[in-house]
Subunit: 182 residues, 2 copies
């Protein structure tokens, strides 16, 4: 019996919604939104982007970001992802945005960050890493809507005091718009 066959949707007693439950032993696999942590890294007025070496959106550009692990704080996760994807040692300055992507069951906590030491290069999940001036950003090749939102938020507050954390823009309050071409 494959896991797909064994797990069924069933409402546990006292709960108000269906949960993925093992039909054999009753184990409930609670599905909760996952936390993505990432950062807009400013480098002398430019912004660090990574060209994805992996699906989804291979070949498209993104900010360093990924899933938070169990034993991490959000800041620690953002630092780890910047190292893994861009071989950049970053210093998170504060929270720039908290985005909800209900389509995927994600909450994205995006920091504004700067380099703690000079230098960056592609990690194993990136084809390329570059610092782009604002007018150089390849908007047609940005991987995800939240990356575009985060870049625009950063553009309004690239340095100085951090603003109140941005939430989803009006154009997609719930994070349910499909990817362009997807």
């Amino acid at each position: 019996m494959s896991p797909t066959d064994r797990f069924v949707r069933r409402r546990p007693e006292g709960d108000d919604r269906e949960r993925l439950t093992c039909a054999e032993c009753g184990f409930i696999a609670y599905e909760n939104p996952k936390v993505v942590v990432g950062s807009v890294v400013g480098i002398e007025g430019k912004v660090l982007l990574c060209r994805r070496a992996i699906e989804p959106r291979r070949g498209f550009w993104t900010i360093p970001a990924g899933y938070l692990e169990m034993d991490e704080t959000v800041s620690e996760g953002a630092v780890r992802e910047a190292w893994e994807e861009a071989r950049a040692r970053i210093l998170p300055e504060g929270v720039l945005a908290v985005y909800s992507v209900a389509r995927l069951g994600q909450v994205q906590v995006i920091f504004r960050a700067r380099l703690a030491e000079p230098g960056f290069s592609p990690g194993p999940e990136s084809l390329d890493v570059r610092a782009f001036a604002w007018e150089e950003i390849p908007w047609d090749e940005i991987a995800f809507p939240t990356v575009r939102w985060a870049l625009h938020a950063w553009r309004e507050h690239p340095a100085g005091p951090l603003p109140p954390a941005y939430l989803n823009p009006i154009e997609d309050m719930r994070g349910v718009a499909p990817l362009p071409g997807g």
Copy 2:
């Protein structure tokens, strides 16, 4: 075979850490931090607290907060929890804080909110719901450190423009301090 017996910790090929894996079928139950959403609700200068009817910390006071569900945005989750726990219709104004509780694998997104319509009363998970003036807050009976942190953050910005989102205070940067008496 119980689920506890069947699931073992094993490092999947290409991964860099151990994951909970079904020894029979190879199903990987990824464990990720969960998102808690909550709100400090200001009511004419007072703050809304709920006395917990459930464990952990039954009988202690907390802000309305709970686990985000799959199909929700963080704002929607905060609104739902305020209704479930305090029968309050709230309007989230913005993000007050993003706390990491590495001890529990939690990220807490805390809003500053106000009532969208008057009135509140205990929901099924609360013994009591009250609006406390600052000097009335029962500090010795606060359920969790993050509730204390959020109340102090709110105290500094109870109205007007929201501040940059607070992160964990210096006293517990990773959210690993045990509960008092626990």
